[in-house]
């Protein structure tokens, strides 16, 4: 998936359920549009509920932007596996990927809205996290 405006922060959605991840991505596309690199991943390697590091790495690669990538996660393993995936990235990319402390659906829409306006990664994360503020 490529973006028309690769300068915008990319958004990655990680859920235990592939249906939730895909549905949240659909909401982002419909509500925010195509100006933001976007990828989703969900489910374990056997197709059950869960998350897996390889899938998250692939999603980060798909949504990659020079401006960085914001990851939205649901519960427990989604967060720890995302952090593990970030640690496995090449060093020059590691600092440009942040996991947001925000609800996965609402956070994804808000983060993408912020990104579509050209905001930097820190502002995208801050805006998504306003939901818990």
């Amino acid at each position: 998936m490529s973006s028309l405006r690769p300068g915008n922060v990319g958004i990655v959605i990680v859920s235990h359920s592939p249906k939730i991840a895909e549905g949240a991505a659909d909401m982002v596309r419909q509500m925010v549009g195509d100006a933001v690199p976007l990828a989703w991943t969900g489910g374990d390697v056997d197709g059950g509920l869960g998350t897996n590091v390889a899938g998250i790495l692939e999603a980060i690669e798909t949504a990659w932007s020079p401006a960085g990538v914001a990851i939205l996660v649901d519960l427990g393993g989604a967060e720890t596996n995302s952090e593990m995936a970030v640690e496995m990235l090449p060093e020059d990319r590691r600092a440009r990927v942040l996991v947001c402390n925000a609800p996965v659906v609402e956070g994804a829409v808000i983060a993408a809205t912020e990104s579509s306006g050209g905001s930097p990664l820190a502002a995208v994360k801050r805006s998504a996290e306003e939901f818990y503020a």
Binding site: M31, V109, T113
Partner: protein
Amino acid sequence: MHDANANRAAQTFATLTASAVLVNPVGLHARPSVKLTQLAKGFTAKIEIALAADGPWTDAKSPVKVMRVKAPQGATLHFRVAGPDGEAALAAMLGLVHDGFGEA
């Protein structure tokens, strides 16, 4: 020379205000909020919205804050704008509301 510096420091932009009635059925809910925020972000000017002429004012460039305004259909949305592209910003924001955020 001192005068020139003083003039530059004192350069400010007039605050412009206007209002428009929300005509789209859902009012200022999720999708319209995203559109309003995206439009606002395209301008340099400071843009704020409120449900009353005397505030409280909300930053129109913050998607979370705009959604929390929860303005229903029929509500009057007030705008307060200040900046170098303030006039264009105000016209664009009013246009978006008049057009029902493209979904009326």
